[in-house]
Symmetry: C2
């Protein structure tokens, strides 16, 4: 195999980094913390976007676009938002460069902005400043808008897809006449995210609500979906925020109700990002490379011919192209790789590295037998199948792979989910097994922070419809009414 | 009508501004020069993106994503590129804000970047710096990559869609082993743009090559498509550049040919932007509002019920929804507007303003007759049609509107295209008629600039396959071999 990667058992973190680069998904750029998303990686992101965009539209949302830049003063308008976001930001201070006469390009000090502009880390402020002009009465509500955009948060320690200074995402920003409607929207979009994670990404998730400490800066409640990676660390895969009237008050956005009374508008925001690429990779891939669930695979089936000479290739190609056409007619995306510059073994390893779900190999001997060799990427199993009705068998196999990946991920998560009743047990589980730990907590931010300091574990969420159960906090020994979900996280 | 706009004859420029705002396409934002693209406008842009993206993929291209920021020093690497682009740029100098202790958010001077970052005005430099790592041998070529992104050019005078500080676009960046192949690619993408403009936007264009003065900074040749707006001003609707080896040399990108010899890689770049929205609006719209060609209309047909009382609505809705379903089965996008908060007349004006190509009105009397009233947006003509086979009639009508809009635009362009043989005639035509003017030019930048200074007219292009014809330059009287295309332009 031309491209080798570190084994997971040896160094999981290095395995991830190797894989992202060797599978041609992304790479570091010349700009600190910013990534280049390569065509193979971007094609998966495009599939994600298409599926999500359709789900957003099916739930009544429309797309729009708001400015990249936000005036600095906007960040001061919502008291808690400013603490959360007016920190590690890219700040635009000038709008012109000039030649200094010695052949150097320098910033033109005469072109200093009166007010600095911040490259958006998230768009609540600029969007609510805009909504002020869109909303007068209840007739203008609800506003159900989504934006696909790039955002920048100046991260000191970056990892491809998981944490980068610039990343791509979608951010929904909705406006409602009542708190109930806004909460309903918040929960609806959480369900959309969970549906996408489980049925498209084949990643099981736990839906829950964040503690005050982990809440979005400016939210009343932050809902999230939490996934568990193969190494036992959690990953927050999407968030949906009920913002109350906080941003409406900060930007003075009122509406006249049917009875003529003026009230502030209720808000939500919700987003997922290219971070999902990291979650996808870390959920399913193995030491041979990437594993992509068929529903998100840009190429679902690759056909590789095995032959001698031009005449052999011509014979094999005739059948291969018939198979390709039949698969395409089923809506399956197929690549026929008849390049003569690489050997079949090299191609097999290449498509394993790139995570193509199904590989079909056709040799000259197969022609006589009316068979092909079919290999599935998830289990690496091979079988010889008759060409008759092959398209239906492959269609079925793709669905089977999709289901199997989800089942494996779910089984793993269940095996890696534990309960701890004492702090000692909690720390032992964290160090020896990792994974999710359900434990009692006294409900205070103080305890939460102490546990985080001492163990690096955080409360991922309080699961929705959580079982109520009397107990004592593993840290403080104070009474508790329910277990919450702890884990070390990405 | 609730939303009135200035008439074109009165003030074309004001008409445009009114229309963009009143048809809910876009609006100014709190950030100087940056626009908000509203849902109605963004939906059209999405249709454009989908059509273009498919054309790019059908010609072998893939999408990728490169960083928003470009290190300042990159701009100095290509000598002519720096003059063109290292000017009016957004410059990021700091990466942190802080609270000054008096409740103000200020830039943290301790977080000054060692090297300033420029918000990309175009991405040749960062992309060719990346390609250096992707290209070793002829086997790595061609690279056929496109990026959908936002870019920033600090414009002093801005107009919604036509010229904004931030705009959305796509930029193709390809790498080739030979000059011939790169030129072929440049021309292929010019053809794709012309095809899109004419067959989707219904905007006839003239394909040509720019003079040295108007060339992209860093290109050997810039090809363009030029359209003529209703007011007789030209609009450059897309450009495709043959970049030679300029960027490969600037970023030291060499490849080993089959014979092992090292050579610099050949490049192209090509782009269209949200400026196309301006071209679309100014080509077809009228004093009643927006006119959108059916192939780019997010809603192609609107059905408006005319009724008295809930019972009347129920009867009309039954038939309306049947019609809607039949149209949708044909792949036509339909909206049934049964809101009871607005009268039919208000709705008619609203959909005229928003440019929905076909409006179907159904009244209670129509039910007895088995008819509907069909109004087409392009000509504002109405006719009564039998419900029988209505979906096929509407499908035909939409095609007819698409063709008619192109025909009208083409006829207008032909009527507004003139020849001038003297400078006096040239200036008279410009002032009295506007439009395209074919005139002889001596081929020097000096003459081109003088004409521009004195008349504000520029050479839009030297049309491809231009008729060769001996003559004398209208300005200098020097000999000329061909007429070139002049106009005042957006």
């Amino acid at each position: 195999m031309s491209k080798e990667i570190t084994a997971r058992a040896e160094d999981y973190s290095k395995w991830y980094n190797d894989l992202v680069v060797k599978a041609d998904l992304a790479d570091h750029s010349a700009v600190r913390g910013c990534m280049v998303i390569k065509p193979s990686g971007y094609a998966i992101w495009e599939k994600m976007q298409q599926a999500l965009d359709k789900m957003f539209k099916d739930t009544g949302h429309v797309n729009a676009y708001f400015p990249l830049f936000i005036p600095k003063s906007f960040f001061s308008k919502e008291a808690s938002h400013v603490d959360g976001f007016a920190k590690e930001c890219a700040v635009v201070t000038h709008y012109r460069l000039k030649n200094d006469g010695k052949g150097n390009i320098v910033v033109d000090e005469d072109a200093k902005l009166e007010e600095e502009l911040i490259v958006r880390p998230t768009s609540e402020t600029i969007i609510w400043n805009t909504y002020k002009g869109w909303i007068q009465s209840y007739r203008d509500l609800p506003i159900l808008v989504n934006q696909w955009a790039n955002v920048v948060r100046w991260e000191m320690r970056t990892r491809l897809f998981l944490r980068t200074a610039e990343f791509l995402w979608q951010e929904g920003h909705t406006a409602h006449a009542t708190a109930e409607e806004a909460v309903e929207e918040t929960r609806r979009m959480l369900d959309v995210y969970a549906d996408f994670a489980e049925n498209w990404m084949a990643v099981p998730v736990i839906k829950g609500v964040k503690t005050a400490n982990e809440r979005f800066a400016g939210a009343i409640d932050t809902y999230c979906i939490e996934a568990l990676m193969q190494d036992g660390k959690a990953l927050q895969a999407g968030t949906s925020h009920f913002l109350g009237q906080n941003f409406a008050k900060a930007f003075d956005v009122k509406f006249a109700a049917k009875d003529g009374k003026l009230d502030y508008v209720w808000a939500t925001s919700w987003g997922v990002s290219t971070r999902l690429m990291g979650a996808l990779i870390m959920s399913h891939s193995d030491d041979h490379g990437l594993v992509i669930p068929p529903k998100l695979a840009p190429t679902q089936v690759v056909i590789v011919p095995i032959y001698k000479g031009d005449e052999g290739l011509a014979k094999v190609s005739e059948v291969a192209l018939q198979i390709k056409a039949k698969l395409q007619a089923k809506g399956i995306s197929v690549k026929y790789d008849d390049r003569d510059t690489q050997r079949p073994g090299w191609k097999f390893a290449e498509y394993e590295m790139k995570g193509v779900p199904v590989r079909i190999a056709i040799g000259e001997r197969d022609l006589a037998n009316g068979t092909v060799e079919v290999a599935r990427r998830d289990t690496l199993e091979k079988e010889t199948l008759s060409i008759t009705d092959l398209e239906n068998k492959i269609e079925h196999l793709l669905q089977n792979i999709q289901d199997n990946l989800y089942k494996i991920a779910l089984t793993r998560r269940e095996e890696m989910t534990h309960r701890a009743d004492t702090y000692e047990e909690f720390k032992k589980l964290l160090d020896e097994k990792g994974g999710f730990i359900y434990a009692h907590w006294d409900g205070t931010s103080e305890t939460e922070e102490k546990i985080k300091e001492e163990t690096k574990a955080t409360i991922r969420c309080i699961p929705l419809n959580n079982v109520q159960e009397a107990g004592v906090c593993i840290y403080s020994g104070k009474p508790s009414t329910q277990r919450v979900l702890f884990a070390r996280a990405y």
